[in-house]
C-alpha cells in the first residue's frame, strides 16, 4: 500500500446504462488494493446502490438538462478505502429515511427501500452530506482490517 492517499475519480452521465461501467471500475480498484473477493463484492453492491439512487432520484425529470452527472471518488488511505458518490440534483433528507425492519419488510412483501439499508450493512461507515442543487454526497468507508467484522450473512446495524 502507498503511504500517501491515492485517488481515482470518475464522472459519467447519470444513466442506468452506465452502472456496469461503474461497477467494473470500482471492483477493479478494490481488487487492486487487496480486498478479498467477498469485500470486493460488498463494495461493488454498495456503490451500485448509491449510484442507482442518484440515477433514479437525484435529477427531477427535466431540470438539470444535459448536466445530469454522477461523480465517483475512490480514495485509498493506508488503513481504508473511501468511496464518495456525488450528484448535483435535488437532494433529500437522509434522516427522514427509516431503515426497514427486515422481518416486517418480508412479512408484508414490501418493494424497494433497500438501497441505503444495504449500503449501511455492507460498508463500515456511511455518511450523507446534502446541499440540494449544489452537491449531494454519500461517503462510504471500508477499512482494510475489518474492525467490527461487519457484513454479509449478518445484516446488523
Amino acid at each position: 500500500m502507498p503511504t500517501t492517499a491515492y485517488e481515482y475519480r470518475l464522472r459519467i452521465p447519470s444513466e442506468t446504462d452506465n452502472l456496469e461501467l461503474i461497477r467494473e471500475f470500482v471492483t477493479k480498484v478494490a481488487d487492486k488494493v487487496g480486498f478479498n473477493s467477498d469485500d470486493v463484492g460488498k463494495i461493488e453492491l454498495a456503490c451500485d446502490e448509491a449510484c442507482t439512487n442518484v440515477i433514479k432520484h437525484a435529477y427531477a425529470s427535466d431540470r438539470n438538462n444535459g448536466k445530469k452527472s454522477l461523480d465517483i471518488l475512490i480514495k485509498i488511505d493506508f488503513d481504508k478505502f473511501t468511496l464518495v458518490v456525488t450528484d448535483h440534483g435535488k437532494g433529500f433528507d437522509p434522516d427522514s429515511i427509516k431503515m426497514p425492519d427486515m422481518q416486517e419488510y418480508l412479512a408484508q412483501l414490501k418493494v424497494g427501500g433497500l438501497g441505503i439499508y444495504l449500503m449501511k450493512t455492507l460498508m463500515d461507515e456511511v455518511d450523507y452530506q446534502i446541499q440540494p442543487g449544489v452537491k449531494n454526497q454519500v461517503k462510504m468507508v471500508k477499512y482494510f482490517i475489518d474492525k467490527n467484522n461487519s457484513g454479509f450473512g449478518e445484516g446488523k446495524k
Partner: protein, 119 residues
C-alpha cells in the same frame, strides 16, 4: 457481450427462467417483462435458475418482491435454484430465504411444487 438475457423453458408444468449476466437497475425491466408475460399466460409455477447470473442489486431483488404476492394469490410461487455463493449472499443478507424457497438443484425446485411437504 450481452449484459443480461433471459431464456424460458417449460418443464413438468413449471416455467423455468434462466437468467444470464447481471440484474441491476438497467436490466431489471427485462425480468419484469418476462414475469408479466408469464402472469398474462397464467403460468404461475415459476422457477428462476440463477446459474448464469453474475450479479444482482436491490433493483433485481425488487422485481421478485413486486410480483410474488400476485403469483401466490394465484396458487403459484417463485422458487429459486442454482445460485452462486455471491448471489446467495445478497439474498441471505436481507433474509430472503425466509420468504422464498432457494435450493441448489433445479429438479428439487420442480419437486417442491408437487411435494412441498418434503421441504
Amino acid at each position: 457481450m450481452d449484459a443480461f438475457s433471459i431464456s424460458r423453458v417449460n418443464k413438468n408444468g413449471c416455467s423455468i427462467l434462466y437468467l444470464n449476466g447481471f440484474l441491476d437497475a438497467h436490466t431489471a425491466p427485462e425480468l419484469e417483462n418476462e414475469l408479466e408475460k408469464l402472469i398474462a399466460e397464467e403460468r404461475f409455477n415459476i422457477i428462476v435458475n440463477f446459474k448464469d447470473l453474475t450479479y444482482i442489486s436491490s433493483a433485481g431483488l425488487g422485481v421478485f418482491m413486486g410480483y410474488i404476492e400476485n403469483i401466490r394469490d394465484n396458487q403459484g410461487d417463485i422458487k429459486m435454484c442454482s445460485m452462486s455463493p455471491k448471489i446467495f449472499r445478497v439474498f441471505d443478507l436481507l433474509g430472503f430465504p425466509t420468504l422464498y424457497d432457494i435450493v441448489q438443484e433445479e429438479d428439487r425446485a420442480i419437486e417442491l411444487f408437487y411435494k412441498p411437504e418434503q421441504k
